[in-house]
Amino acid sequence: MTTTKNPLEHFDLHDPELAPRYYEVTGAARRSCPIGRTDASGGYWVVTRYDDVKTVLQNPSAFCSERGVGLLDPKLVGRVGSILETDPPRHRELRRPVEQHLTKRQVWAAHEPAVRALAHGLVDSWIDRGEFEVVSEYSGPLSAGSLASLMGLDFDQRRSDLLEAAQYSAQGTRNGSPEDPRLHAFVERVIRDRQASGAARDDVLSTILDGGDFGDRPLSDDELYGNVRVLITAGFGTTKAAIANIALRLTQTPGLEDRLRDPRWVESDLDELLRLDSPVTGLCRVATQDVELGGQVIREGDRVMVLYASANRDEDFFTDSDRLDFDRPVNPHLAFGMGIHRCIGSNLARMGIAVGYDVLLSRVKNLALKEGTEIVYAHGNVRAPLALPVTFDVI
């Protein structure tokens, strides 16, 4: 019997050195040791293949969320109770009232005009320069604006506040304070302002604060806080990353620009781009019982990290998985996760991406990475270039 060295022995999602090698490391693991235990962050299991990731995500009774979906016990964070960190049956009670504000119809009707106007304003701010930095001058503010609109915040005043607060939420959670006081203060202020205004609006914030039917009991203070906070922590960095990842592909892929000028690109091409460059690298569950997974025995209480971006490159599931292939007939990708915790904001994300590129590519062409640029990737739960300076020609 040969002993295979565990290539995931020191896997550390929060190691900056891993970010540029994420696909290389996880690809090697899928082929030799698809589920391995790392000694990072107190030890956790790393799940790299599509089928195993699916098994974990579709079995919330064996792999729960209420003990944290990051690498820290949420009790250490102090405030618990968001949709993301709740299990059935409470999960369904929390999710339903919020979900109705995030349907495709609802987000396009309620938020598309504001996001479109914002996108034009952002382009206006740098179009005369002939170059711009995608992350700080487009994808970041656009994602923040989309969230500000969703949350019904005073658009001009609060969008920059939200952008600032959301940046803090994107910090790694391996060491240091998991709850940045600035993000905490922002969320508290958003809640306080809406409550003080006394106006119940037909939006997600009012539903969370006082309007929703959340099953047998109203929201606890922690649930209330957690569900406002999670809109920002789950919604901001992900959409920002998706837009930036697509921009990088645009600079690398001849002909892609014209392809994205066809409005139908969001029906299927977008999903191939999200599969290949999934914003979310990995999130966790905790085993509620001893359970066998892919030949490994996971013990009750063990933390299990599922790697969405790795599953989306699984060569046993996606033919020629590292290649951008818009003619791929089968693409049930996991960029938005799966199972009961599937990204609740996916329609808002898709709208932000669609409108962002509709506006951008109607005004500029020939996007190219600025000469001499070396791409540095963010590390942690979300993977995307930290900065992306590009040049362009005005249409």
Binding site: Q58, Q100, P329, V330, P332, F336, M338, R342
Partner: protein, 63 residues
Amino acid sequence: MRVTIDEERCQGHGRCVLLCPEVFDADEIGHGVVKEPSIGTDLVAAVGRAVQNCPERAITVEP
């Protein structure tokens, strides 16, 4: 051919609605519903794409 969606499995990804709006629609919380359960041969390919691209494997087509 008859198309059905397993409500327990569907999590509202919305891929079916994007890929085959002739047959699928979204309900008030964004979960998939079949508006044309009985489909002819002209829609078999499009529905097939929806079936194969549903991450939850929630769609079934029966003769």
